[in-house]
């Protein structure tokens, strides 16, 4: 019998309310209410209009062997008396390297700057880590916070100074257990602050003297058996506390699951039927429903969150899903519109001049040179699937339903951004490093972590708390504000419009109207058009922005903005020319 925690990487999202709902358990679905009730848009906010946090529910599964689909472990059943859960969250953003596009993915250069570089004393730098220490819950129905005030283990906690502006950080979240032996982890409150008297945010990713309350860290469990034995769950999990996702029912073209899958296919021999010995297996037949249609559907749905021409994204799925050779030309046409993975700097097809898809920014659209990659591409694995599809080599039988634990692993990651990483929303390019993983989708945890947490890292030893989030922007609101649309040359492309919409549809008395998600409607030259003029405004107002949900049907969707509490400026009739 072996035990594993699912989801392997859980994703919790910040909110300024003490209340919470739970992460969606399937990709592209609404969140789940803790009591199992049906989630409605009103549930995004609490009675006071604050944004509820999104928690993740972890479960231990037992497996008899490799072929066993597994089942959740419940206290009082099958010889298990209770489950002890331990979580350790930390935020190391203030002491890590500056985020400079993709420099560092293959190791940092000796001149790569550190954040807060004027603090050189290692002891002082260690104090800049937000580390409340680990928390353990030994039984069902308990809770504890990762806060300054809740420190049952008398851990030598380190928190930022208590008087940050505009917001101080007193907690990274909390954990609680339910009656079924499950663990719910919650993240921070979206509080970000600077130690400066007059806080300034002048960079999208690196702002010295700033902290935010996102975090990450390991989730481990120990089973206490009825005969008194203690069994440590071998396959531990990880939790990432990240910014909100404002269009939960839509998916990014490349999800974090896709990116990690591609890493695993090419490096960890997880799918020898797809790739082995350095060769893509041309006899592999991807499945229309499982491997192809989701990619095209995501492109199709982008029109709900960005301003793009709708007609070319209105795809004829019936014909595209038909393997008949009559449609080879049509499938080939669409394949030719997709930017090949190894040409991330190519805007238009050199063959026919058509702009290549996706119309999204890449990992490095700021710095020219050998690392430039201005536009996003699909993963190599996704592109291989599409090539097979274009040739008519695909099945239409539908994918098999995965075992429940695997499904949870996938759902959490499918709701995250898999590119572009500049730095991204949840995780950055470090997710493409095979050394990160104990097994596909499961982070290698560093054993025997003792305070203080390390200022460096050795991926061969595994990760410490805070080692995933430390790459990300500080405060996260800066990058979140600026990563709306990106001007490249005389063109605009988008970042990750599902997590952070650019244009949304609102219901008005005389119909549906498309407006910029953040700022002033109608005036493309307004300084707060698709983003706030000052990143500080996002630090203050992120929780007032609206969510995008499907108010139509699955067949005939109508994604509208709901639950916006922030006033939306419209140009006054007098100002119209």
């Amino acid at each position: 019998m072996s035990y594993r925690i699912h989801p392997a990487i859980g994703v919790v999202r910040v909110g300024d309310s003490p209340e919470f709902y739970l992460a969606p358990e399937r990709p592209g679905t609404l969140p789940v209410l803790p009591d199992g009730g049906v989630f409605t848009p009103a549930d995004f906010r609490d009675a006071e209009g604050r944004l509820r946090r999104q928690g993740e529910r972890f479960e231990v599964y037992s497996y008899r062997d490799d072929t066993d689909p597994g089942r959740p472990v419940r206290p009082g059943e099958n010889g298990v008396e209770r489950i002890e859960w331990t979580v350790h969250l930390a935020n190391k953003k203030a002491i890590w390297y500056e985020f400079v596009v993709n420099a560092g993915e293959s190791g940092y250069a000796p001149d790569h700057p550190l954040r807060n570089a004027d603090v050189t004393d290692p002891a002082l730098r260690q104090k800049m880590i937000i580390d409340p220490g680990p928390r353990t819950l030994k039984d069902a129905g308990e809770s504890v916070a990762f806060s300054r005030t809740d420190n049952p283990g008398r851990y030598p906690m380190t928190f930022p100074p208590p008087d940050l502006r505009p917001s101080s950080i007193d907690s990274l979240g909390e954990m609680r257990t339910d009656r079924e032996g499950r663990l719910i982890v919650l993240g921070g409150f979206g509080a970000s602050g600077s130690g400066d008297a007059v806080p300034v945010v002048d960079d999208y990713a690196n702002n010295d003297t700033w902290w935010d309350d996102t975090s990450d860290g390991p989730v481990t469990a120990r089973l206490i058996m009825s005969d008194g034995r203690a069994v440590d769950v071998g396959a531990s999990a990880w939790v990432m506390a990240v910014p909100p996702r404002y269009a939960p029912e839509l998916s990014n073209l490349v999800t974090l699951y896709d990116t990690i899958t591609d890493m695993a296919v090419r490096n960890l021999r997880t799918r020898p039927d797809v790739f082995h010995d350095g060769l893509w297996q041309r006899d592999f037949t991807p499945d229309w429903e499982g491997d192809i249609k989701p990619i095209l559907e995501r492109a199709h749905h982008y029109g709900w969150v960005v301003a793009i021409p709708t007609h070319p994204h209105d795809l004829d799925f019936e014909k595209l899903g038909d393997p008949a050779p009559a449609y080879n030309g049509m499938r080939r046409f669409y394949l030719d519109l997709i930017r090949p993975p190894d040409t991330p700097d190519l805007f238009a097809s050199p063959d026919n001049g058509l702009p290549l898809m996706p119309f999204l920014a890449g990992d490095n659209c700021f710095q020219p040179g050998p690392l430039a990659s201005r536009y996003l591409t699909l993963t190599r694995t996704q592109f291989f699937f599409l090539r097979q599809w274009a040739d008519g080599n695909f099945t239409t039988k539908g994918p098999p339903e995965p075992p429940p634990g695997v499904r949870r692993d996938r759902a959490a990651l499918d709701n995250c951004v898999g590119g572009a990483f500049s730095p991204g929303i949840e995780m950055t390019w470090i997710c493409r490093n095979p050394k990160l993983y104990a097994e596909p989708y499961r982070i290698r945890r560093k054993a025997g972590v003792r305070p203080p947490l390390s200022l460096g890292q050795d991926l061969d030893l595994g990760l410490e708390p805070g080692d995933l989030s430390k790459y990300m922007a500080v405060p996260w609101q800066a990058d979140f504000n600026e990563c709306s649309q990106q001007q490249i040359g005389d063109r605009f492309v988008w970042w990750w419009p599902v997590q952070r919409p650019d244009f949304v549809f609102v219901q008005e008395a005389d119909g549906v109207r498309q407006v910029p998600w953040v700022g002033t409607d109608g005036d493309q030259n307004a300084d707060d058009y698709v983003r706030f003029a000052d990143d500080l405004d996002m630090v203050a107002h992120w929780s007032g922005l609206g969510f995008v949900v499907n108010k139509g049907t699955g067949e005939d969707p109508l994604f509208l903005e709901v639950e916006r509490t922030l006033l939306r400026d419209a140009p006054s009739p007098d100002s119209r020319p």
Partner: protein
């Protein structure tokens, strides 16, 4: 080689209103031919641009795709009233020629490489807006295509009034289709079942291209057109989502931007004007004929797609892949082929696509492409041989797919 003399100018006559379904059908067939006749000159200009990623390419490509949409839209209008559209020899335009049915003075339509003068004197005049929203309806001859469509719209009104909607729209052939347009341009291919549907279809054609009725940039906010879902030139000088207006999106305006030099003219192949296979010989002649064969194959397949209960689907099976892959590959190869082998192909004059009606069975076309592919000519240099292999290879792949896919599909459905 001497170009054939232009046909006599038609006489100007007062407009006789359309009074019967037969007359309506005849006008629609003329409209279909007019739409078709714009496509080869636009394609020629498009193919002549050496950098397909240039702004001018993007503008013209958008127009061509929308002209295809208009052609299919007219076919739907015809099928809606029980008349099968024809793309047979007698309805396929030859070049150079006056625009069919146009009043005295042109435009005189020629196959030429792109130039600002071509954009102004030919393309803008094809897409000339109506002089005013009150411009009268006109049959043949007409002053603007918008006025010709106005006559068709009144013809629908008159026929419905005279015969009743049931007799006008009750004889639908069943060959209308709304699945052949997936370009990046605006508009939609509409199915037509009643008078309102017919008017909506006509409005879309007129507004999109041949003379949007607006002659000046309209007032922002007053005439929103599809929200932010069009890309265009923004007030801050960048290119991105805009509240597009009929004016900005019209074909007339797009050609005007090229004619006025707002969009830089990219390098073009030095193609001879109004190319013809007649004066050619050897492999260049075969290449020219092969292009014409493919062009005719596309027209035949589209004709079947809108006029026959056909299986497999001739549009997706044949017309689409040949149009997408074979036509541009063969046309640009011709445009790289000097008429005099001693001439520098950068200077020309070079051959070009004749767009002549030249039917041939698809198996023979595939065999001809294969034969040519296997014999890259000497004497024009390595670059030319490489282009020969690449372009004829692409054309052959598309043609072979169009030919064999159908057989497989028949077997599968057998």
């Amino acid at each position: 080689m001497t170009p054939s003399p232009p046909p006599l100018l038609p006489l100007t006559l007062a407009h006789q209103p359309i009074g019967s379904i037969e007359e309506l059908a005849a006008h629609l067939q003329t409209a279909l031919t007019i739409e078709l006749s714009t496509i080869p000159p636009y394609l020629c200009a498009l193919y002549s641009i050496t950098d397909p990623a240039s702004e001018a390419s993007r503008l013209i490509r958008g127009v061509v795709i929308e002209e295809m949409l208009h052609m299919m839209q007219v076919a739907n209008l015809m099928n809606a009233i029980g008349v099968v559209p024809s793309l047979d020899r007698e309805h396929v335009p030859t070049y150079p020629s006056y625009l069919l049915g146009h009043a005295a003075g042109g435009p005189f339509v020629q196959l030429q490489p792109l130039s600002p003068v071509l954009a102004r004197t030919v393309f803008m005049r094809i897409e000339q807006p109506e002089p005013s929203p009150d411009a009268p309806a006109e049959g043949e001859p007409y002053d603007t295509i918008g006025q010709f469509y106005k006559a068709i719209e009144l013809g629908f009104d008159a026929c419905v009034k005279k015969y009743g909607a049931k007799r006008v729209f009750g004889r639908d052939t069943g060959f209308q289709r709304d699945d052949t347009y997936f370009g990046a341009g605006g508009g939609r291919l509409l199915l037509v079942h009643d008078l309102d549907g017919a008017k909506a279809a006509i409005e879309e054609i007129v507004q999109q291209g041949e003379g949007a009725q607006i002659q000046a940039p309209p007032v922002p906010y007053e005439e929103p057109y599809g929200g932010y879902d069009h890309y265009g030139d923004r007030p801050d000088g960048t290119y991105g989502p805009i509240i597009g207006t009929p004016w900005e999106l019209s074909h007339y305006r797009r050609f005007q931007r090229i004619a006025d030099g707002e969009v830089g003219l990219p390098p073009v192949y030095p193609m001879q004007a109004n190319p013809s296979g007649a004066g050619l010989d050897g492999d260049t002649r075969r290449l020219s004929d092969l292009f014409d064969n493919c062009y005719t194959l596309v027209l035949t397949a589209i004709g079947e797609a809108v006029g026959k209960p056909a299986q497999p689907n001739p549009f997706f099976q044949t017309a689409f892949p040949v149009m997408q892959a074979a036509l541009p590959a063969l046309a640009t190869l011709l445009m790289r082929t000097p008429l005099n082998p001693a001439a520098d192909p950068g200077l020309g004059p070079n051959a070009g696509p004749a767009f002549a009606y030249r039917p041939r069975p698809i198996e023979e076309i595939v065999a001809e492409a294969a034969d040519l592919l296997a014999r890259p000519p000497g004497g024009l240099g390595g670059d030319y041989r490489q282009a020969w292999r690449r372009n004829l290879g692409a054309a052959h792949r598309a043609l072979a797919g169009a030919a064999t896919g159908g057989l497989t599909l028949n077997a599968a459905h057998g």
